[in-house]
């Protein structure tokens, strides 16, 4: 019988304690971000999809070595190159130039292997995270074109 009443007593007490906690929380300021109206700044190391880095002239730094393509676990990078002839010190030299850098973002796992494996510092992560679309094709990025757009 004593247990019966102490059960009721301690039970009610625990309930009141809980209500006290939620009561205090009620008057605390909100902590959420009103997302479409407010956004957060991404941290410096945030890994979005990859982007090409331009050199001083606005051309991609990439030398088309193909390391990123090979390192990618998901096979989402497709490279293309053309050979052009340039003049260095009066001599005509052949040089490979990047003509296509396609990223299939639908498959990308944002692992960062491509950036790490690039020995020429030609890739970086974008800070973009508001990526949403109803069409798959919107996530096949043409990074070369994006670079040009950023240059202008």
């Amino acid at each position: 019988m004593g247990g019966y009443f102490s059960d009721i007593f301690y039970g009610s007490k625990s309930l009141l304690i809980g209500m006290g906690i939620t009561f205090r929380e009620f008057f605390k300021p909100t902590v959420t971000v009103q997302y479409p109206y407010q956004t957060l700044k991404m941290s410096a190391r945030f890994r979005g999809h990859i982007e090409l880095i331009a050199d001083k002239e606005g051309k991609p730094k990439c030398v088309v070595c193909g390391m990123c393509e090979r390192a990618c676990p998901s096979g989402c990078i497709t490279l293309g190159s053309i050979s052009i002839e340039i003049e260095v010190d009066g001599k005509i030299k052949k040089k490979k130039v990047l003509s296509k850098y396609d990223l299939d973002f639908t498959k990308c796992s944002l692992c960062g292997q491509c950036v790490e494996n690039c020995n020429f510092g030609a890739l970086e992560f974008s800070k973009e995270y508001n990526l949403a679309s109803t069409r798959k094709e919107d996530f096949h990025f043409n990074l070369l074109k994006r670079l040009e757009e950023r240059n202008t």
Binding site: L15, A44, P73, C111
Partner: protein, 372 residues
């Protein structure tokens, strides 16, 4: 409460819980033979999110397999990637700098706290209380912010590399982690008062769903589930790896075997993880974060390798059979929840459905990790 009831197998019906059901937290299906609200027999049906992670491990180089590991358990991903890199490092004989190991331990423990926090919220939500989930997510968000600042991702981290880390932690992280610990301790007190002490909560869990130690052994249950049944087994203590032997922490064990015991184990573990983080931050050595001698393309010597780690859900093991090639010949992942979950079928016989679903919550299931 297990009142002796007479089950009538001839008057039963079949209840399909899942694959889409609020209590399963994922695509798990449980076929339940019910007699009224009592479960006569339950059968878990798996495989709805099977993604062939093991097979993928055989088709990719070891480095390319790194991102896969964080996709097993999206709540405590770092523990799993830790197991993977440790296995490869031991097999390939790569020496990891001490600083890297310390940072690994700190981040793994942070991730464990984040995982337990989310479990805590989801578990109370299973029991019908919604607000604690929001409080837990608030605290977890601080951890995710910290981890995002160092790893670049919030859930599916790909932070550890063979021989070290992707990048070093900065002072901001250390400051934030130091500030986080007292705040988290305060929150734990709040949870104790709001949830653990609550009479409704206690009455729902006390003595419910007893899982004996013998049953845990039979099914290979590990982690908080086994520790709630009185089995003192924690890979960090029993088969020490990384820098864990240098830390002073306890392994909480409860002998009641019920849902409340499993709950208490996890709540205590958060405190122990905080202790590890505290010590790790204090004694964090300076130095490089990447091994100096490290082969460019990793090929493991022919052999059979196994590494177990203690993740938030229990003992995770990765077994790699190598034939000397640049990818594994066979790769086996022993995921803790897979074993823990199989308790469910046997333990929930004769239970009320609401107790059974609370019991399922206390097992802390993460379905993608079961199905792999």
């Amino acid at each position: 409460m297990s009142a002796p009831i007479q089950l009538r197998p001839d008057e039963t019906f079949l209840l399909n819980v899942g694959p889409q059901h609020p209590a399963t937290h994922g695509v798990l299906r449980v076929k339940m033979q019910m007699d009224g609200e009592y479960i006569v027999k339950a059968e878990t049906v798996l495989g709805y999110v099977h993604r062939m992670h093991e097979k993928m491990g055989e088709n990719r180089t070891y480095a390319q397999y790194l991102p896969n590991l964080s996709r097993l358990d999206y709540l405590g991903a770092l523990g799993y990637t830790h197991g993977h890199v440790l296995a490869i490092e031991r097999a390939a004989g790569i020496e990891v700098p001490e600083r890297a190991e310390y940072i690994r331990a700190i981040t793994v423990e942070l991730n464990r706290v984040a995982s337990h926090l989310f479990w805590f919220g989801a578990f109370v939500m299973d029991l019908g209380g919604f607000s604690p989930l929001m409080y837990a997510i608030q605290d977890r968000e601080h951890i995710l912010d910290m981890l995002e600042a160092v790893t670049g991702a919030r859930l599916t981290y790909c932070y550890y590399r063979f021989g070290g880390l992707y990048n070093d932690v900065d002072d901001d992280f250390i400051e934030a982690a130091k500030r986080f610990i007292p705040r988290m301790r305060k929150s734990l007190k709040k949870y104790d008062a709001l949830v653990s002490g609550n009479i409704i909560f206690q009455k729902r869990l006390e003595g419910i769903a007893p899982v004996s130690a013998e049953m845990c052994r039979k099914y290979g249950a590990t982690g908080p589930v086994a520790r709630g049944s009185g089995i003192n087994f924690d890979v960090r203590k029993n088969e020490p790896y990384s820098v864990y032997p240098e830390f002073d922490f306890d392994v909480p064990v409860y002998h009641e075997c019920d849902s409340l015991a499993r709950y208490k184990v996890r709540m205590d573990e958060m405190e122990q993880s905080l202790r590890i983080i505290e010590q790790g931050l204090e004694t964090l050595p300076d130095g490089p974060i990447m091994a100096e001698k490290k082969p460019k393309n990793i090929k493991l010597p022919v052999g059979d390798y196994y590494q177990a780690v203690e993740t938030a859900r229990g003992s995770f093991g990765i077994r790699i059979v190598s034939d000397g090639d640049k990818n594994a010949y066979r790769l086996k992942l022993r995921s803790p929840t897979y074993s823990n979950m199989h308790l469910f079928d046997e333990a929930c016989e004769g239970m009320l459905i609401m107790d059974a679903l609370a019991f399922m919550g206390s097992l802390d299931l993460v379905i993608p990790e079961i199905d792999r």
